[in-house]
């Protein structure tokens, strides 16, 4: 990222294919691959930006939340780069970085302005955040069980779509009827900004079992579309309602699930109905990327609020409240 937070290069080494056979991210496998790819990715980013290590003014890295083994690779490499090059090192919160995707150059997020109410939806998070100003965030609500992306992956598996399930489910749902099956909408108690998706996932599973027992044919595209509709309706409704309550000009959506077609459509429709702007970064900036990390660091440095010399914190809170993400182990997990 260059002067004026101009994006010069954004290189991503996705591990989706690597983890497909495990049906989820395996922390040890992820850490090993990160160690192999981290320097080639840095190298490629420098060359795409037309610069070199000597041209850098600062280094930024995600300090958490996330999988501790993966975080350790990134933070250790970033720290020695900063040491060797005698540069400041800025630690960034992964969730906050997702929010900064709104400030990257994409058509869907043009005109983004603070304050805003934003939804961070991914395999690891479903957080509703009131973003008052740079460095001033308030988590209004979050999931009480599965993250939205986790529900997408689990339902995709039920429908035999493999991993990662989100994009496949999205494609399948486009051919289906979203009103074919009525799945529950979990609005929780009156006024709550929290989410819950485990009941919806269970409802899909029992619907599939019942239909199979009755010997009827399952229209997978209809199930996918109906599930998606139940999920995105709640997300979009709670997001736009919170924004209206806070009196902000618009809403934002980021994180891997923000690439979902139905969610983007539903948020835009409900935002229009409430007279709000809808800012949704282009899909490439919704899924995990380093451009958003650089943007978060750039703004923190510009304001003198950067967290320098970070250490890894798998549970790093975005607003002082523990998000409950991260951890270690060798079992498949969902990416954040």
């Amino acid at each position: 990222m260059g002067r004026g937070s101009r994006l010069l290069a954004n290189v991503i080494a996705s591990q989706a294919a690597l983890h497909r056979r495990f049906g989820g991210v395996v922390p040890e496998v992820a850490s090993r691959r990160h160690l192999e790819t981290v320097l080639p990715v840095v190298d490629q980013a420098l060359s795409e930006a037309g610069t070199s290590l000597a041209g850098l003014d600062a280094v930024a890295v995600t300090a958490g939340p996330g999988l501790v083994g993966s975080l350790l690779v990134g933070v250790t490499v970033a720290r020695v780069l900063a040491l060797a090059l005698e540069l400041p090192l800025v630690g960034v919160n992964h969730l906050e970085a997702h929010l900064y995707a709104h400030l990257l150059p994409s058509e869907g997020a043009q005109g983004f302005a603070l304050p805003a109410v934003c939804l961070v939806v991914s395999g690891g998070h479903s957080d509703l955040i009131y973003w008052r100003d740079h460095g001033d965030l308030e988590v209004l609500g979050r999931t009480r069980d599965d993250a939205a992306g986790e529900a997408f992956d689990k339902v995709a598996r039920l429908l035999g779509l493999g991993y990662p399930g989100g994009p496949a489910l999205d494609r399948l749902a486009r051919r289906g009827n979203a009103h074919a099956v009525s799945f529950p909408r979990a609005y929780l108690e009156e006024g709550s900004h929290d989410f819950s998706f485990s009941g919806l996932k269970t409802a899909v599973a029992s619907y599939l079992r019942r239909v199979e027992r009755e010997g009827r044919a399952v229209e997978h595209a209809d199930v996918a579309a109906s599930f998606e509709q139940a999920c995105v309706e709640v997300l979009a409704e709670k997001l736009t309602r919170a924004a209206a309550q806070r009196g902000v000009r618009g809403v934002g959506v980021c994180g891997g699930v923000a690439a979902n077609t139905a969610l983007r459509r539903e948020v835009r429709a409900r935002a229009v109905a409430r007279g709000l702007a809808a800012w949704i970064p282009d899909p490439g900036f919704c899924t995990d990327n380093a451009a958003m990390v650089a943007a978060a660091a750039w703004h923190a440095l510009a304001r003198g609020t950067a967290r320098l010399d970070p250490i890894v914190d798998p549970n790093l809170p975005v607003d002082g409240v523990d998000s409950g993400a991260g951890g270690t182990g060798d079992k498949p997990r969902n990416p954040s």
Partner: protein
């Protein structure tokens, strides 16, 4: 040429600066889980105390394991990142080699073994005069490993595996086995640095992008779910 060496495969985080002219500095820390947090600060203070600027370093040496997966990644990540940033060579030295070389046993064999959990060890067997490995780097159940030592020579064991299984080892090798005390049971940074220097002189290593851990073992998920 000034070398910086780092190993965090065992419970001891070890670093050293080797001036190549007889001068040097070492850092060692034992503390559970603190390696990743401490390693860069330790580099900074070693360099600072020795009044060496990072840009004066000529090469970086990493202990590549085997050992704790996270631990060997920390050392390799730190070494490769530092070497890449400075545009200098990086070279890996197996942690077991450095352990064996740090503790001579003139008449017998030296056998560093690390606890690999699940009743297994990482280990290798070395003769000391002249110094040479007699086996490859092994990941075996302890019993299978000890079976390879049935011949008559005395054996000096070291490492956390040796400390943990001291009684089994001594029973099995009746009278032939000695176990080094913990203070001598870790990979020393200056030994690692010397071995790295030798390897570089012999034309090994160099490209920081190629520096990789010696895991010896796949992840549990890969073992359960083969390709």
């Amino acid at each position: 040429m000034i070398l910086l060496a780092v190993d965090s495969a065992t419970a001891f985080l070890s670093l050293a600066l080797d001036g190549g002219d007889g001068t040097g500095a070492e850092f060692c820390l034992k503390g559970p889980g603190a390696h990743a947090e401490a390693v860069v600060g330790a580099m900074r203070s070693l360099l600072g105390d020795a009044r060496v600027r990072p840009s004066q370093l000529g090469a970086v040496v990493a202990g590549i394991g085997p050992g704790s997966f996270t631990g060997i990644r920390v050392a390799v990540a730190a070494a490769k990142g530092l070497a890449y940033a400075l545009g200098i060579p990086a070279v890996g030295v197996p942690t077991l080699d450095a352990m064996a070389a740090g503790l001579p046993c003139p008449e017998g064999l030296v056998c560093p073994i690390l606890d690999a959990r699940r009743g297994e060890v990482y280990g290798a067997v070395y003769q000391n005069s002249p110094p040479a490995p007699l086996t490859g780097y092994l990941n075996l159940p302890l019993e299978d490993f000890l079976e390879r030592l049935e011949a008559g020579r005395p054996v000096l064991f070291l490492g956390d595996g040796a400390l943990r299984y001291r009684q089994i080892i001594q029973r099995r090798l009746a009278g032939r086995a000695q176990v080094a005390p913990e203070a001598f049971a870790y990979p020393r940074g200056l030994v690692l640095a010397r071995m790295g220097r030798e390897r570089l002189a012999a034309g090994d290593g160099g490209d920081p992008l190629q520096l990789a851990p010696l895991y010896l073992r796949r992840s549990e998920a890969e073992t359960r779910c083969p390709q």
